[in-house]
């Protein structure tokens, strides 16, 4: 009863959280999951795992399941155009099996 879908993962600055969610929904995704995330990346302007007073240096991890690869690519392209230049953000994708196939 499972179905092959795509899982798009976006790790980004928390300040982008609302904008990313808006972008994901308007692209046509049916849902998403947000987690707080910490860590260190290649971009030297930020490196933190500990909670921060202003939340400007904290990260979120957003996961989106999409039924088609095209939808995931559309979302990625929009994120790339809008945010890659100025913000700490990475995106990656992998195929997963969704167990409630009728949802996608």
């Amino acid at each position: 009863m499972s179905q092959q879908v795509w899982k798009l993962v976006i790790v980004a600055e928390e300040v982008l959280s609302k904008k990313l969610v808006k972008l994901i929904k308007s692209a046509g995704a049916t849902g998403y999951t947000v987690n707080a995330a910490g860590g260190e990346g290649s971009r030297n302007v930020r490196s933190t795992g500990e909670p921060s007073v202003s939340h400007t240096l904290s990260n979120v991890k957003i996961e989106v399941l999409t039924g088609t690869r095209e939808l995931a690519d559309t979302i990625t392209r929009e994120i790339e155009a809008k945010f890659y230049a100025d913000y700490s953000i990475i995106t990656y994708i992998y195929p997963v099996e969704a167990l409630r196939d009728h949802k996608f």
Partner: protein, 335 residues
């Protein structure tokens, strides 16, 4: 010399206040790599609590006073918030190796106001028995919002000129809305509104007022730990930011104190009120300003402005500017 010999003991007494002791304690334990961590949610609650109490005090004072008194100081706060950004644009922004958006964002943050610094100065004035209008705390948003708006507009104008892309206009209203919706300004304004419209004295006397100093001390530890941690960010950017962060709170404070004294001459605004205005100008935003600037000036490096503000600006405002201006006020009042 008489001024200095009067001033020094008063200054030293201020430096030994609990506020400052807890701040330095926080810096030291974090610098020593202590595992001490105060949960984020506690921090959020404390900053809400302190600003709510300050707002209530201000609201109750406004209810019992002439609301037109606030007009001139509020106008001065708006002007100072804007001027501070331009000072950064034409001093810090002109230095070698400093990008204009970084300088303007830093100026915006230093023009904006720190809730923790504001919370620290009021009980110190009470302890020193220097009278001030309780509504002066309500000047916070009048300086905070214009500074952030000016910084974002100046940076956007600069960037659009540089890229030749004049099509994108800056929308001011969303920035103002975001500032008002920020947790710090909302807590303060809600407190002011409740103070004016309701009679919150029972909860004020039994809850907000007695716990204020204790929570403030905890907040100072958090700010100290945060300062030590943000030092690492600051090390990655040009040293000019550290120099600016050290000097500018004192310069902004004197500028605002001067303006406050002029208003004192015109309308009888108290010397204590001028101290509050000076400390508000000396403070740099650490809670609500950074996310607004991050979204408003994306190309500015957050390590530069947050490092400058949290690691150096706030400790200088609390540890140097508060005792400095209270000391000057005490001398002026002939203590």
């Amino acid at each position: 010399m008489a001024f200095i010999s009067d001033f020094l003991p008063l200054f030293l007494e201020q430096v030994q206040s609990p506020t400052l002791g807890f701040l330095i304690g926080g810096i030291i334990v974090a610098a020593l790599g202590s595992q001490l961590a105060i949960p984020d949610s506690i921090y959020k609650f404390i900053s809400f609590f302190l600003l709510m109490k300050i707002g209530l005090t201000g609201g109750i004072a406004i209810r019992n006073s002439n609301p037109t008194e606030i007009f001139l100081p509020a106008l001065a706060a708006v002007g100072l918030g804007i001027v501070i950004v331009f000072i950064a644009r034409w001093t810090l922004g002109k230095l070698p190796g400093i990008s204009v958006p970084d300088a303007v964002a830093t100026g915006g943050l230093f023009g904006a106001v720190s809730g923790s610094t504001l919370a620290a100065v009021l009980p110190q004035l009470d302890s020193a028995k220097i009278p001030y209008e309780a509504w002066t705390a309500a000047l916070y948003p009048f300086m905070d919002i214009p500074a952030l708006v000016t910084a974002i507009v100046v940076a956007s104008v600069y960037l659009s000129k540089k890229t030749g892309n004049t099509a994108e206009k800056v929308e001011v209203w969303p920035i103002i809305k975001e500032s008002i919706q920020s947790s710090a300004v909302t807590s303060l304004l809600l407190g002011v509104a409740l103070g004016i419209l309701t009679k919150p004295e029972p909860v004020y006397e039994s809850f907000f007022n007695p716990l204020f100093r204790g929570f403030l001390a905890v907040l100072m530890i958090i700010m100290g730990m945060e300062a030590a941690q943000r030092m690492n960010e600051l090390r990655k950017v040009a040293q000019w930011f550290a120099i600016y962060a050290f000097i500018s709170p004192i310069v902004h404070g004197f500028l605002a104190f001067g303006v406050g004294l002029i208003i004192h001459k015109i309308t009888g605004f108290s010397i204590g009120g001028a101290v509050v205005l000076a400390v508000i100008a000396a403070s740099s935003s650490d809670i609500s300003g950074p996310p607004t600037l991050r979204a408003g000036i994306p190309s500015a490096n957050p390590s530069a402005y947050i490092g400058a503000s949290t690691a150096i600006g706030t400790p200088v405002a609390i540890a140097i500017c508060i005792p400095l201006f209270i000391g000057i006020a005490e001398v002026m009042l002939g203590r």
